[in-house]
C-alpha cells in the first residue's frame, strides 16, 4: 500500500509533471481559503483507502446486491446531498490528517506528509456524494477518485463498534510474522510445530528476518516520527507504533528486536504475548488500525472492538486456527 520514497527526485523527472505540479501549486495558492494543498506525490507517504472503508456504505451495498448497479447509482445520486456516515477507516484518516497539520506547523515547506488517496470502484456519479460527504466532515483534504483499483497488496479493514479513539495521536499496531516480517518462521510453526520453531529462532537469533509486506509502512511512519523528534517533540509525538506478537520475549522475541534494529527501525512498544489472545491488549492500546495476517486474530480483535486490517500474505492464508484448510482438488 505504500513505498518509501527516495529523498532526491529522480533525474529523469517528467517536465510535463513538473509543469502540472507548478499549476497545482499556483491554483491552491490563489484560493482564498486556508485549506492546505496536497503534498507532492513523490515525497509523500501515499495511503490509499477505498470509499467503503472511509464511509459506511452497508445500506447502499445491499441495494446494489438486491437491485443491481443502475438502481444503486440512482439511489446514490438521489441522496447525494446526504453525507455518508463515517466508516471503519475514518478515525485512521482523521489521525493521519492530524499528523499532517502538526508536521506543517513544524516544517511549513516540507512535502513529506501523508497523501491520502481515495480509490474506488464506484461509478463516477457516486463521486458527487463522496465529495459532498468529504466536504461535510471538512477534515479531509485530498482525494483521487479512480474507477478500477489496480492490484496493490493491501489490507482489508473490518467494521467494528469501537470506543472513541485518540484524536491527537495516530496509533498503528502491527503483528510481527507475515506482516512486518516475512512468513518464514510461521511456516516452521505450521509445518514443524512450536518446539522446532523455538529452537530455530534461538539458533538464528542474530540473523535478521526477511521483510514482510508492511515493513515499508513502519519505515515511513518512523521517518515522520523522527521529524518530530528533531524538533524536540518526542514526548508529544502524534504517531505511536506497536508490535503485538504471539512470540514470547524469553524464547523467540530477541530475533524480532534484533531484526528491527538491523533495519534501523524503532517501534514504540513491543508486546510479546507468548500465545495469549491479542484482543484484551489491543483493547487497551486502541489503535486506529491493527495489521494481522491471520483472520482468526482479526476476528478476535474485532470482537473486542479493535479496528483490524487483514494482510492477505503468506502461509497463514492456508490455515484456520492452526489447521490446514482443505482445498478442493484443482480441475485442469
Amino acid at each position: 500500500m505504500c513505498e518509501v520514497k527516495p529523498n532526491n527526485s529522480a533525474p529523469t523527472e517528467d517536465i510535463g509533471a513538473e509543469r502540472d505540479w507548478a499549476a497545482t501549486k499556483a491554483f491552491f495558492d490563489s484560493l482564498k481559503t486556508n485549506k492546505p494543498r496536497p503534498p507532492k506525490p513523490q515525497y509523500a507517504v501515499t495511503i490509499a483507502v477505498s470509499s467503503r472503508t472511509l464511509f459506511d456504505m452497508v445500506a447502499e451495498r445491499k441495494i446494489y446486491e438486491d437491485e443491481g448497479l443502475e438502481q444503486y447509482v440512482a439511489y446514490q445520486v438521489e441522496h447525494e446531498n446526504d453525507p455518508l456516515m463515517p466508516g471503519v477507516a475514518f478515525p485512521f484518516v482523521k489521525a493521519l490528517m492530524n499528523v499532517n497539520s502538526r508536521l506543517r506547523k513544524l516544517y511549513p515547506d516540507s512535502e513529506e506528509l501523508f497523501d491520502i488517496v481515495l480509490m474506488t470502484n464506484n461509478h463516477a456519479q457516486v463521486g458527487v456524494r463522496l465529495i459532498n460527504s468529504i466536504n461535510h466532515y471538512g477534515t479531509l483534504k485530498q482525494t483521487l477518485l479512480i474507477k478500477s483499483c489496480s492490484s496493490i497488496a493491501a489490507a482489508t479493514m473490518f467494521m467494528t463498534q469501537t470506543e472513541t479513539l485518540s484524536e491527537t495521536q495516530l496509533r498503528v499496531a502491527f503483528d510481527g510474522d507475515a506482516v512486518l516480517f516475512s512468513d518464514e518462521s510461521e511456516i516452521i510453526v505450521k509445518q514443524h510445530g512450536l518446539d522446532t520453531f523455538f529452537e530455530h529462532e534461538k539458533e538464528f537469533e542474530n540473523k535478521p528476518l526477511a521483510q514482510g509486506p508492511l515493513k515499508c509502512f513502519l519505515e515511513a511512519l518512523g521517518k515522520l516520527q523522527r521529524k518530530f523528534y528533531a524538533k524536540n517533540e518526542r514526548m508529544n509525538c502524534p504517531i505511536r507504533t506497536y508490535l503485538v506478537t504471539a512470540r514470547s520475549a524469553a524464547s523467540s522475541g530477541a530475533r524480532v528486536l534484533k531484526t528491527l534494529r538491523s533495519w534501523g527501525l524503532e517501534i514504540d512498544e513491543a508486546l510479546f504475548l507468548a500465545g495469549a489472545p491479542k484482543g484484551p491488549l489491543l483493547q487497551k492500546i486502541k489503535p486506529h488500525i491493527y495489521f494481522d495476517d491471520q483472520m482468526f486474530h482479526i476476528q478476535g480483535a474485532n470482537e473486542m472492538g479493535t479496528i483490524s486490517a487483514h494482510v492477505p500474505y503468506g502461509i497463514g492464508q492456508k490455515y484456520h486456527k492452526g489447521k490446514l484448510i482443505e482445498q478442493p482438488a484443482k480441475k485442469e
Binding site: 509533471a17 491554483f27 496536497p38 461509478h123 463516477a124 458527487v128 465529495i131 485530498q142 474507477k147
Partner: protein, 258 residues
C-alpha cells in the same frame, strides 16, 4: 484546393444528427513501401475501429438511430492530396466506415473542416491541432497507444489551463459543449456496464471541488461520466496508462468546474 468525395461503400449519415469526426489520413494510415497499393494501419486505426463499434451497437439498440459517428478522412497537406487514390483504396481494403474523403492542403484544411461541419478533428500533427482549434474546431492530438481498448474511451480534462478570454465565449468552448452533449446522449443509449463507449473526466490541478463541480456541470449538459480522476497535481501518465483514453479533450473544457 478542397475536394470532397463520398465513399459509395458506406451508407451516408444524417447530416443534422450525426457527430462528424474528421481524422487525418496520415493518422489512420502508415505509408509503407511505395510499390504497395494499400497503406499499413496507422496510429488512429484502433480509434476508427472503436468508433465503428459504437455505431454498430447504436444500430443494434435502434436500427433507425441517426445519432451516429460520421467519420471523414481528411488530408491536410499537398503531398497527401497526391495520394488520393491510395487513400481511398486503402479505406475500402480495410472496410473502414468512412463516409467521405476530404482532400485539402495546409492552407485550406481548416476551411475544409468548417465546410464539412466537423465537430471533432483528430490529428497526429502538433501544429494542425492548435491551428484548427484557434478557428473554433474542437481538436485533439492523437498518439500511439500501447494496448488500445476495444471500448471507445474519451477523456475530458475539466480544468484545462485557461487562455485569457477575449470577449464572448471562444468558439472552441461552444464546440466542446455541443460535442460533449452529443456524446452524453450517445452514452445514454447504453447501460452502465457493457457500453462500447466510456466517458472519463480528469481534473489535473484543482482539488476535489474542481472535480465535483465539473461532474455536476457535465451532468447538467446530459453527460454522465463513467470514471473521474481528481489528480490535484499528481502526475498524469500513470493514470493515462491505466485508463488508456483514445484521446484527451482539454481544448474548450476549461472552466467546467465553475
Amino acid at each position: 484546393m478542397v475536394s470532397t468525395i463520398q465513399n459509395t461503400d458506406v451508407k451516408q449519415k444524417d447530416a443534422d444528427r450525426a457527430v462528424v469526426v474528421a481524422v487525418t489520413s496520415r493518422a489512420v494510415f502508415e505509408s509503407g513501401a511505395d510499390g504497395d497499393d494499400v497503406y499499413g494501419m496507422g496510429v488512429a486505426f484502433p480509434l476508427l475501429q472503436a468508433l465503428q463499434r459504437v455505431n454498430e451497437r447504436l444500430l443494434e439498440e435502434n436500427p433507425a438511430e441517426s445519432l451516429l459517428f460520421d467519420v471523414v478522412l481528411i488530408t491536410t497537406d499537398s503531398q497527401q492530396q497526391q495520394q488520393s487514390s491510395r487513400i481511398i483504396s486503402s479505406t475500402r481494403h480495410y472496410g473502414l466506415e468512412v463516409s467521405r474523403f476530404c482532400f485539402s492542403s495546409e492552407e485550406d484544411f481548416v476551411e475544409s473542416l468548417q465546410k464539412n461541419n466537423v465537430q471533432l478533428f483528430l490529428s497526429t500533427d502538433r501544429n494542425e491541432v492548435p491551428q484548427a482549434s484557434q478557428k473554433g474546431v474542437l481538436s485533439a492530438l492523437l498518439d500511439r497507444q500501447e494496448a488500445p481498448s476495444e471500448q471507445l474511451r474519451v477523456m475530458f480534462c475539466g480544468d484545462a489551463v485557461n487562455r485569457p478570454d477575449a470577449g464572448p465565449m471562444p468558439a472552441s468552448r461552444q464546440a466542446a459543449q455541443s460535442f460533449s452533449a452529443q456524446l452524453g446522449e450517445m452514452r445514454q443509449r447504453f447501460g452502465m456496464s457493457d457500453s462500447p463507449l466510456s466517458i472519463v473526466l480528469m481534473t489535473s490541478h484543482g482539488g476535489r471541488e474542481s472535480c465535483g463541480g465539473a461532474l455536476r456541470t457535465l451532468r447538467s449538459r446530459g453527460v454522465n461520466v463513467d470514471e473521474a480522476y481528481c489528480l490535484a497535481g499528481a502526475p498524469l501518465s500513470p493514470i493515462l496508462s491505466v485508463v488508456r483514453p483514445h484521446f484527451l479533450l482539454s481544448d474548450g473544457f476549461s472552466g467546467l468546474e465553475d
